[in-house]
Structures are given as structure tokens and as C-alpha cells.
Symmetry: C2
Subunit: 340 residues, 2 copies
């Protein structure tokens, strides 16, 4: 049997368990050019909140009654493709389920001897590539510059900050818990990390960034953005990668002068704001993956995973992710006994 | 005697005549490396409103009691420089006055046989360069793309739109009077031009831009920006050149959801917003001026000047400019009888 999590209803604001449906169905059949994958890990990422809305965006929404969308990694258990054989480890868009039928066109083979296969969903997967390609293309870090990274202990932010350090920048993280800040400072070796829930967050940020901010990596929006905007230096760059603080917002109290303040900053400081999605940077993926893999193997880039066991736990884990309760790359391990 | 307009007090909101002081003083003496210029035209531009504030910006404010800042063009009447001789026509930062002492380092010689000297303050000066360099560097127009230009009949907007047409784009202007819209359509040959004061402006904009907007040239901010943001196509570019609608704002009613809407658009459509100032693009000036001059001589780029005679009229003309009352590049002609 195939265990699956379906989208039952569209959330208003933060999703609840009632928005999801857990079902068991037959393991699906495969056609020519397809493979059947037994999913070992699938990934939970903030972008999935967008897919739950019935709104035009860069990707089409998940339809009601469909399996929730996710990248996953697993073992080929049946193959109707000359490209993959039974026993291969592959990653692709498996969805929130235990068995997934994938076209051999949209699957990547993973070498389990190179690194733990879960990294293909994190530091050596979409989040790592997002960090590398976005920072290089739109952040353009130069040695000696000051970089602020929001969601600094998260899957993307942790990699952004570590790359910026490798490029000779001073890097300040922002996270939502003191334990995360400690990890960012002590393990990831950022120069500092502030808790955006602290009362003195804005004034502390001003102190820590007394020479201004050249690159602000935008993962979250909200008050973090507000605190950093006035600190931006001339010719500052703001790659807009995500907006976790806004994903669940149905209504937002905004002080009246924010848009003018934003634009005044953009104009007078010649800021650059650039939204992007990792797919847009496909041509950089190969080089990025090579560079990231070697940094990970050399121990220059560290990563942390937050693995929850059992597909049934996915909805709760996902809601927690949107509230910032995860600590590291959020993964669901569907097969608790698997040793990979 | 030298007639001058000084900054008397800092405006709250729209400047009034009381913020300026008209004085007569001795014609100043020049030192080594300096020239004395009898100003023929000086330029009035929206950016000058920013200089009247006592706020940190990309340029320092005009001090109270100082001559208002302006680019101007005039004749050298005394020279202590080997680079310029009496009778030369030069352009430089003359200020709002009849006689100006300029260092020979910051002055450009103008050939009065090539084009009317007033163009050195408009289509072949700062506004034209702003249009050319900004559009090429940050707009990056491609044939077949849809371009919207705010303040379309203004000194910068008119050039932006005409260049975009030369590059094969469909170009829609936005202006604040029907007469301006007519001029933009009939003389500048934009594909269309809408009046932002029209009741149906937003819905008309949606109709006219039914295939979306690839480049929005931001000169004004305010409701024009709001109308166009939802129409932006993926990978759209928004060069932020000016924000006339905001310059006089001391308080602005903003609907609550604008910042989140802006950021959602930036992210999901991968928009690029880039503030810039023409000084930042100095290295492109020579090529830009060559190209613009040849287009102007070939009649491919048209321009319109709004010349007001007499330095005493400058404050009123400037206030009108900020209200959109000018029609074409706003210039003050200090010497009414001069035939240049």
C-alpha cells in the first residue's frame, strides 16, 4: 500500500491539520520511461505554503485532493527506463508519499557513497543551490562587505552565510530563537546572530551593523526587513529568496510610510531588489553542485538536518516549519528502519 | 550685479515662494583654474526638491542661505584656466544665478553649432543620459517587449520611451494631462499614453497592457506604480529613476497590504527593482551622448522644452514642475535677449 498526504482544503492563514488528508492507496503502476521510487526522505520547505493557495504564482497550485508537492529521495524499486535500474538512489519531485512514479526525464541519480542521501534535499539540493546561485548571481559578495542573512539557521540561510564567510565577508545572521543564534555563531561561525524576537532587535541590529549592510539576504520579510532597510549601504543588494513572515498573512498591520520609505531607500542608495527562484538559474546548477560538494566534503560548509520520522507526522512538522519551530533542514523520513 | 536665488527656509511638503530668497550681489572674482560663466539657461529638475531637505541622501543638501543648485549652460566671460577661453559655451553646475564661478575640472565644453545649447541640459544632458544609461543598464529592452514609462512627456520619460521604440518595444506612456498624452502619442509616437488622473486609469491600464509589462520606468511612484505592479510580467525590470509623487509627501495614506503585495510580486515574478542615479553610470556617458546626438540629428528622438524667461520666475516655475504643470524640459532663460 502507498501512504499519501493529500491537500484536503485550502488554508486561511497558518495551515491546520484539517487542511490535510492522510490516505492509503494501491502502489501505482509505471509506464514506459517511468520508474517507481520507494521514497526514503522527502523535504518540507516554506515554498509549499504557496502551493496550497489557489492563486496565480510561478508554479501552479496543488489541486484539492492531490498529493502535496515535495522533492524527495528514494530507491528505484521498479524501472521501465533504460536510464535507471532497480536499487538506484534517485531524487525528484516525489510528493508527500511513500511510493512515487517519476518520469526518467525529471530525476537525478544520487551517489550514496559521496554524502548521506538526505543532503540531496538540503545542502546539496534545492536549498543549497538556491543559496549558492542566488548569492553569486544577485548578492555578488565581495571580500570585506557586510552581509545579513535572515532565517540564518535554516536550510538556505545557513549555506548563504557560510559561502559569504568563505568569500571574505562579515556575516550577521538573524534567527528566531536563542538556541538557533548560538548554533549560527558557534557551529556555522557567523560573526554574530541576533534574535528577531528580542525587544531590542532593531537597536542591536544598528549597533552590530554600524558600518551598514551591503547584502541583505531576504528569506522572511516582516520586521527583519524593516530593521535592515535603513541600514543598507549605497549599491546594496537584496536578493529576495523567500518571505516566510508573509506566507500565512491574511491581513498585516503596516505603518503608513513604509512604501515611500522603501522607495526612497531604493532610489537614494541605488539599491537592487531581485526576486528569484532556483529554477531560473538551471545553467549554474552543475558548477554550483560541484563547488558545494567539495566544500561539504572539506568541512567548510556544515549543515544540520531536522528529521521527523513517519509520513503521518508531515502535516504537523510542516506547520511547525512555518512557525519557525524546526532547527535545520526539515525532512520527513518515511521508512524509519532504513539505514541510508 | 549677480542675481541669485537662495534657499531661505526648508519646505514642509510642496515648496512655496517663501522658501526662496531673491538677492543681488557683486559678480564674484575667479581664482586660478576657474572660469566666470554668464549663465544663459539653467535647468529645473525634480531632484532639486530633495536638496531642499536637511536629510542624508546621495548628495548633500543645499544649506540655508546658499544658492539653489542647478545645472546650467552659459558663456565664459572671464577665464583663469588654460582649458577655456572667453566666448566658449560651457555647461556645469551653475546654480540658480546669472553669474557662476566654476572650476575648469567640472565643466564641459558645448558646441553651439551641433545643436541648440539648451539641449545640453535636456536631451543631450543629464536627463537624456539618465534615460539612455538607465534604460540600457537596468531596463535592458528587448524587441517585442512591453514598456511603460511614467512622466512620459517629461525630460527623462520622453527619451526613455523613444529609445524603447527604437529598440522595437511597444511603449505605453503615463502622463497627468490629456494634452501631454496627445503629444506623447502624436509627436513622440508612443503606442499609447494614459492620463493617471483619469477615473478609469487602473482598468484602462489593464486593458492596454493585456499582455503584461516587461519594463516599468519609475519616475513618479504613487498610484502609477500601484496600477502597474500587478501587471508586471515574470522577469520584469523596474528601474527606479525618480519618485515625483513622493517628494513633497509628509504623510501618505497607504493601503495596508501594499508592502506584502510588492514583495509577493518581486518574489513570484522574479522582478528586479533597481535604484540608480546618472552619476553612477559615468563610464557610459561618452557612448550615450554620441548615440543620443546622432538620434537627435536624424530626427529619431524629439524633444520639447518649456522655457521660462527671467531668473525671478524660477521659484514659481519649480513649484509648478513639482505639480506637473510644466510641459517638456523645464528651463530658465536668464538672459531674455540672448539669441543662442
Amino acid at each position: 500500500m502507498n501512504k499519501q498526504i493529500l491537500l484536503k482544503s485550502r488554508p486561511q492563514g497558518l495551515p491546520t491539520l484539517q487542511n490535510f488528508n492522510f490516505v492509503e492507496s494501491d502502489v501505482p503502476k509505471i509506464m514506459q520511461g517511468e520508474i517507481l521510487v520507494k521514497v526514503i526522505y522527502f523535504s518540507l520547505d516554506p515554498y509549499m505554503r504557496g502551493r496550497m493557495n489557489d492563486a496565480k504564482s510561478y508554479a501552479k497550485p496543488v489541486e484539492l485532493g492531490d498529493v502535496m508537492e515535495a522533492g524527495g529521495v528514494g530507491e528505484v524499486v521498479e524501472s521501465n527506463s533504460s536510464k535507471f535500474k532497480v536499487g538506484d538512489i534517485v531524487s525528484g519531485m516525489t510528493g508527500w508519499q511513500e511510493y512515487s512514479v517519476l518520469s526518467d526525464k525529471f530525476v537525478r541519480k544520487i551517489d550514496p557513497d559521496l554524502a548521506p542521501i538526505s543532503t540531496s534535499l538540503g545542502v546539496l539540493g534545492m536549498p543549497g543551490l538556491t543559496a549558492y546561485c542566488g548569492l553569486m548571481s544577485f548578492g555578488k559578495p565581495k571580500s570585506g562587505e557586510q552581509v545579513v542573512v535572515s532565517a540564518a539557521s535554516g536550510a538556505v540561510g545557513a549555506v548563504v552565510g557560510q559561502i559569504a564567510k568563505l568569500k571574505g565577508c562579515t556575516v550577521i545572521g538573524v534567527a528566531g530563537e536563542n538556541a538557533k543564534c548560538d548554533y549560527v555563531i558557534n557551529e556555522l561561525e557567523f560573526d554574530d546572530c541576533l534574535n528577531h524576537r528580542d525587544e531590542n532587535f532593531k537597536s542591536r541590529m544598528r549597533e552590530v551593523c554600524s558600518s551598514g549592510v551591503d547584502i541583505y539576504w531576504e528569506n522572511v520579510g516582516g520586521i527583519t526587513f524593516e530593521a535592515i532597510l535603513p541600514l543598507m549601504n549605497e549599491f546594496g543588494r537584496i536578493p529576495v529568496c523567500g518571505l516566510i513572515a508573509h506566507y500565512n498573512q491574511t491581513d498585516l498591520p503596516v505603518s503608513k510610510d513604509r512604501i515611500p520609505v522603501l522607495f526612497r531607500n531604493i532610489l537614494t542608495k541605488r539599491l537592487s531588489l531581485r526576486g528569484f527562484i532556483v529554477w531560473d538559474l538551471k545553467d549554474q546548477e552543475e558548477e554550483a553542485l560541484k563547488q558545494l560538494s567539495s566544500w561539504v566534503l572539506e568541512g567548510k560548509i556544515k549543515y544540520k538536518e531536522d528529521v521527523v520520522e513517519g509520513i503521518e507526522s508531515a502535516p504537523e512538522a510542516f506547520i511547525g516549519l512555518l512557525e519557525g519551530k524546526n532547527f535545520g533542514k526539515m525532512l520527513i523520513k518515511t521508512a524509519p528502519k532504513n539505514n541510508l
